[in-house]
């Protein structure tokens, strides 16, 4: 629903419950004699998180950086398919790489493998790292915090908006890959990591499940970016900080001698979805990924919320 439409419906809803006051009559309604009555009517009229969330999305839509991330999420699959069409052969060295020219179903998994190191942390950090800090640099935090919305409502709306954006980016990414792959190479059964064939219907279902599994670390990265955005009050610092952290975890993961902590690194969770494409399905990495990601996301979000609730809004 578009915003004007929403506002109209809100306006008609308000009009239905009471006589719409003429703009000029308003002034007289605030005379001391009637002020108490007016204020009684005013109480309890909190904006809903849903409407704040809708406006967060509209703000994202009005900003160019949002489309930078979404554009990348579409562009990478396009480049991949074009290169594949020019080359003829799939990348042998990665799982599913050999099958991309046999079925479009194999394209999204290969894309997911390629994108976990840099692309998704970057796409996600671009928005989640900016969503609070940008209000700081614009000075608009004081503007929205002196209306009728509580701080936790605004934080929740921002959290939901960043998560929605991450989900949209992931859907665009995998969707574009699947669509172009299917157009170019058709939709044929997929060969699982265990070498068994997977029917197309089941393959699509598993692909959806794989995206959900992939979403967990993506949202954990978004949570960290949101924390950095709230704490640093600086968009660039939050974006770079998030990327730096993903990189460090990535490096820790390949240092020999640290294998024992490898399963608990956030970067490792970007591979957990592969368990779904084994036969039979290996749930262990997915279950572990769920709690490991929560271990990264929940403290980050808690710290971000507490910071946002208590912080002094100066500047602007």
């Amino acid at each position: 629903m578009s915003a004007p439409e929403f506002l109209r419906s809100a306006a008609t809803a308000a009009a239905a419950t009471e006589a719409p006051p003429a703009p000029r009559a308003d002034a007289t309604a605030t005379r001391p004699g009637t002020a108490a009555a007016t204020s009684a009517a005013r109480r309890g009229r909190r904006p809903s998180v849903a409407s704040i969330y809708r406006w967060e999305l509209l703000k994202l839509r009005a900003q160019k950086r949002t489309f930078l991330g979404l554009g990348a999420a579409v562009l990478v699959p396009v480049i991949f398919i074009v290169a594949l069409a020019a080359n003829g052969n799939g990348p042998d060295e990665v799982p599913f790489g050999r099958y991309v020219t046999e079925t479009g179903l194999a394209v999204p998994p290969v894309l997911l493998l390629f994108s976990s190191i840099w692309l998704f942390p970057l796409i996600v950090a671009l928005v989640a790292g900016d969503i609070v800090a940008n209000e700081d640099s614009n000075g608009t935090l004081k503007t929205i915090l002196t209306r009728s919305a509580d701080r936790h409502q605004i934080f929740l709306a921002k959290l939901l908006a960043s998560f929605s954006y991450a989900i949209l980016a992931l859907l665009l990414f995998a969707g574009t890959g699947l669509l172009l792959g299917a157009l170019r190479y058709g939709l044929d059964p997929l060969t699982s990591l265990s070498g068994t064939p997977i029917e197309v219907g089941r393959g699509l279902l598993l692909l959806g499940a794989a995206l959900l599994a992939y979403l967990m670390p993506v949202l954990a990265v978004a949570s960290i970016a949101l924390l950095l955005s709230t704490v640093t009050r600086n968009s660039a610092a939050a974006v770079v900080g998030t990327l730096m952290l993903s990189l460090i975890l990535q490096i820790v993961g390949i240092i020999s001698g640290l294998e024992s902590i490898r399963p608990y690194l956030l970067s490792t969770q970007f591979d957990a979805w592969q368990g779904l494409l084994r036969d039979p399905i290996d749930w262990a990495p997915i279950a572990r990924s769920a709690w490991v990601c929560a271990l990264y996301a929940v403290p980050s979000l808690t710290a971000a919320l507490l910071t946002f609730m208590r912080r002094d809004v100066t500047g602007g």
């Binding site: 009471e18 002034a27 002020a35 108490a36 009005a62 929205i144 915090l145 509580d150 208590r310 809004v313």
Partner: protein, 313 residues
């Protein structure tokens, strides 16, 4: 009116303190603003006006003390304490990539209730109706200032907090802004107006607090302040047809102090009665007065004395 008389005052601050490291930006400020007043919060740059207003609005936490708006503490009750309260600190800020109207729609959504119905009226009131679809990015400083007032009006406030609202406005904009404040006050809205312009406060306010280095150094009726100012010797500038002779006359008059001679005539301090006597004395000596004008508005001078003199121990 009985309900109002017993209700909590629009603003009640007790012992507000805010420190930034070594610096005490706001130093034990007590402030009570009764319903229906236009209250001037006056002080030079860095006196702590904006910091006080931020604490009132719940934007920053006081280190000590508490503030209540209509009896509700923004730190404890969050946005609920801002029911019926609107305003801004420093320059109002908006989303540059949205139009003026879009920004107000967003504000109305954050206000809930019927705020959205007031958007047209608010734009009309602040004279932005014809530029409402332009991006705020392209607004001039004064237009943003006006939009800030418009955004405040959406809340249909009973209490308006304005931080130097006329800063950066052209003379017509200043006049409009003051006119608007007067009109809102006439509608029964309580206004807290921070300013460093004595003239503005004199024109609009019933009551003032003068702050300096975070402390309230004067609080009371504007009339009382005016009375205090008029009782004081004031600075004057004098130009005559014969400044040499005028100097002689002036230097013999006992009620006249700080006599000095400058490039465009003489300056001295005296109360009004003495100045009247001086003009007669000059006339008796056939010295014609070309100009005899107050060097600064008396209230302004008092303001300077209060805020620039030696720190009271």
């Amino acid at each position: 009116m009985g309900a109002i008389a017993t209700a909590a005052p629009p603003i009640e601050a007790r012992g507000l303190v805010k420190r930034y490291g070594e610096l005490t930006a706001v130093d034990h400020v007590d402030l009570t603003v009764e319903a229906g007043t236009v209250y001037g919060y006056l002080g030079p740059n860095g006196a702590g006006k904006t910091t006080s207003l931020r604490m009132l609005l719940g934007l920053i936490r006081p280190d000590e003390g508490a503030a209540r708006l209509f009896g509700r503490d923004p730190l404890l009750e969050g946005a609920a304490a801002l029911d019926g309260v609107a305003g801004f600190v420093e320059a109002p800020r908006f989303y540059p990539y949205l139009s003026g109207r879009r920004n107000l729609e967003l504000m109305a959504a954050l206000d809930g209730g019927d705020a959205a119905e007031r958007i047209d009226a608010a734009l009309e009131t602040v004279g932005l109706a014809h530029r409402d679809s332009d991006k705020v990015k392209g607004y001039s400083h004064g237009m943003k200032q006006r939009l800030g007032i418009g955004a405040a009006l959406l809340r249909d406030p009973r209490l308006l907090l304005l931080d130097e609202p006329t800063t950066g406005l052209d003379p017509a904009g200043m006049r409009d802004m003051r006119e608007l404040v007067r009109r809102l006050a006439a509608d029964g809205i309580t206004v807290l107006l921070s300013s460093h312009l004595m003239g503005e406060v004199e024109e609009l306010c019933d009551r003032v607090a003068i702050v300096r280095s975070g402390r309230v150094i004067y609080e009371g009726e504007l009339d009382a302040l005016l009375h205090r100012a008029s009782g004081q010797a004031q600075g004057w500038r004098l130009r005559t047809t014969d400044d040499q002779a005028a100097w002689d006359v002036c230097s013999y008059r006992p009620g006249l102090t700080s006599l000095a001679s400058g490039r465009d005539g003489l300056t001295f301090a005296a109360d009004e009665r003495e100045v009247a006597q001086l003009s007669l004395a000059l006339a008796r000596r056939d010295i014609a007065i070309v100009a005899l004008v107050p060097a600064a508005a008396s209230l302004e001078q008092l303001f300077f004395e209060l805020t620039e003199g030696e720190e009271a121990a």
